[in-house]
Symmetry: C2
Subunit: 339 residues, 2 copies
Amino acid sequence: MSAVVTLAVDAMGGDHGLPVTVPAVARILARHPDLHVIMVGEPSALAAALKKEKLDDHPRLALTPASEVVAMDDPVAVALRQKKDSSMRVAINQVKEGRALAAVSAGNTGALMAVSRFVLKTLPGVDRPAICTAIPTAKGHCHMLDLGANVDSEPKHLLQFALMGQAVVRAVDGLSAPRVALLNIGEEDIKGNEQIKEAATLMQQAADLNYAGFVEGNGIFVGDVDVVVCDGFVGNVSLKTMEGAASMIGGMIREEAGRSLLRKLSGLFALPLLRGLKHRLDPERYNGASLVGLNGIVVKSHGGTGVEGFVSALEVAVLEAERNVPALIRDALAPAETS
Amino acid sequence: MSAVVTLAVDAMGGDHGLPVTVPAVARILARHPDLHVIMVGEPSALAAALKKEKLDDHPRLALTPASEVVAMDDPVAVALRQKKDSSMRVAINQVKEGRALAAVSAGNTGALMAVSRFVLKTLPGVDRPAICTAIPTAKGHCHMLDLGANVDSEPKHLLQFALMGQAVVRAVDGLSAPRVALLNIGEEDIKGNEQIKEAATLMQQAADLNYAGFVEGNGIFVGDVDVVVCDGFVGNVSLKTMEGAASMIGGMIREEAGRSLLRKLSGLFALPLLRGLKHRLDPERYNGASLVGLNGIVVKSHGGTGVEGFVSALEVAVLEAERNVPALIRDALAPAETS
C-alpha cells in the first residue's frame, strides 16, 4: 500500500556512528520489505561495518562515499563551509537530488539545520524551519515545536510553526483537526506578552487551524492538546527540563531502591511496574525530531542514542516520507505566502 | 540566637484560605517559640477559624482586619486599584510599616507581585524584582530565578537576578560562594543568543559573583550549580514543565500499579520506595517562592497547597527574616547602582 521509500542515512554522525547506525539500518530494512536505504560515509569503514553486520550485499542497501564527518562540536560555519563532503551533507544531497525521500542524521543539531536549510531551502510561505518532536503525555503523545532552531520568534513565525505542526500531526497521527495550543505563562498582564497575544490572534483568525488557546508548561503533558507551539529558546529549555526531571526521578528511584534491604526488596518487586513506566517514557522510543519547513524530509536523532533509538528516528523518516509531509506543509503554508 | 521575627500572613488568600492558613500558623507558632504572627483577614470569619483551632488567645498571635479578598482570577489592576483593603495588601502594609519582617500569601502571583512592588518599592540597584524558589536536584536543591515576574529580561536584569539569587543562597543555605549559572540552549551560533552572551559577559566581569557558565534545561537537576538565572517567561515554562513531567510520571506509576495483579502487588511492595521518592520531590516541601529585590520580604505560596505546603512557605519567610535577606540583596546590588 505504501510507496517505495528510500532513506539516506548519515552513517557516521552522532556520538557512536557506525556501531549504532549500521545495526539500526539492518533492523529497519528487515521491518519494511519495500524500504531502500542509502548509507553515506567513509567507504572503507562503512564497508567493513556492513560486512560485519552481513549487510554487504543487501539488495535494498546502497553505499555512497563521503570523505568527511561533522564532529559533534564542530561550529556551524565549519560544517557549512569547510566540510562540503561530510556524510551529513552528502546524505542531505541525496534528498535534494531526488535519490532519497528523507535524510536521517545523529550529527550535531545546529550543523544539521544549517546544512539542511542551505541545501534544501525552505518551502514557500515558511520563513524559518523548526524542530518538531513527539512528547509523551498522560494520554499518549503530543507534538511540540520549535525546539531550538529559532530564538526570538515573531508572531507570524509562531503561526507558521502552528500550521506546520498541524500538518505533521495530520500526516503521522491521522488526526483531521489536531488541537493546536500556544505555550504561555500564567500571568496575563505581564509586559512583553504582547507577542504571544498577537500570535494567539493570528491563530484564532487562521482559517484552517483548530486553535485550542494557551497551555502552560505543565499543560504539555495533560494530553488535551495535539500540538504545542513555542519559540525555540523556550521549547528547547522546556524539552531539556523534562528530560532532566525524568532522568533525576529515574536516578532517585534507583537510589531509593538501593538504600536499605526493605527498599532493595521493594525495588525488586517494583521492577514490572518500573518496566511499564520505562516503556511509556523511554527516550529511545521518542527519538527522532523532524526539521520541518524544508523542501525535503530531514530527521535528527539524538547524538547519544543507541540502536533502538536510531531505529525510532528511522521510523519517523519512513512515516513522514510515506505520507509526504513536506507537500502537506507546502499546501498548509502556501496561502500565507500571499498575505 | 535568632532575632524576634514577626510574620504577616494573608489569612484569606489561595484556593482554600482559612482552612489552610490557620492550621499552618498554629503549627509554625508551635515550632518557633519566639515567632510572632499577625493574621490579616475578614475579622469575624478569621476569629471563628482561630477559635476552632484554639488560637483565639494565643499570646504571640495578633489579628488585623481587612474587608476584601483578592480572588485568584482578579486582574492585577483590580487588586492594585480597587481592593485597597484586601487581606493581601494589608499584610504587605504590615511589612512596609515595620510591624512585620515578612508577608506570606497564597493569593494570585501577578497581584501579589504588583501590590508588593507598589507598597514596598524595589531596593536600590534593582530594576525589576524577581520570583525565586528552591528546586530539587539529584544532590539536594538549587535556587532558580526569575520564575515569571518579568519577560524580555535584558542582560543587566539577568545580572541583577544573579546577584540577588547569590544573596538568597548565601543567606538561606549558608554557602559563601554559590555557583551561579545562566540558563541557555545548546546551540551556540543561533541568532538572538546575543542577549544571553552579553549577560554571560556581565556575569564574568562581576567582581563578587562565582559565575559557573551556562546550563541547559537538564542541567538544572544535576546539582552542580546553586543558582540558575533566566528570564521569567523561560523560567516559568521550565518550572511548570518540571511540575507537569513529575506529575505525569506520578500518575503513570499509579496507573501501572493498578494494571494487573502482578503489578498491583509490585505497586504495594514498591510503597516504601515511592514514599522515599515522594519525600524528596514533594511539592509541598518545596513550596514558598520569594519575591526578591523588594524593600521587604514577601513569600508566595502555591494557591492550591495544603497545610503542610503553607507551613513550608512560612518557614521560608522565617528563615529569610532571620537572615535579613533584603539587606544582603541591598549590599550586593548597591555598587551596580553607581554604574
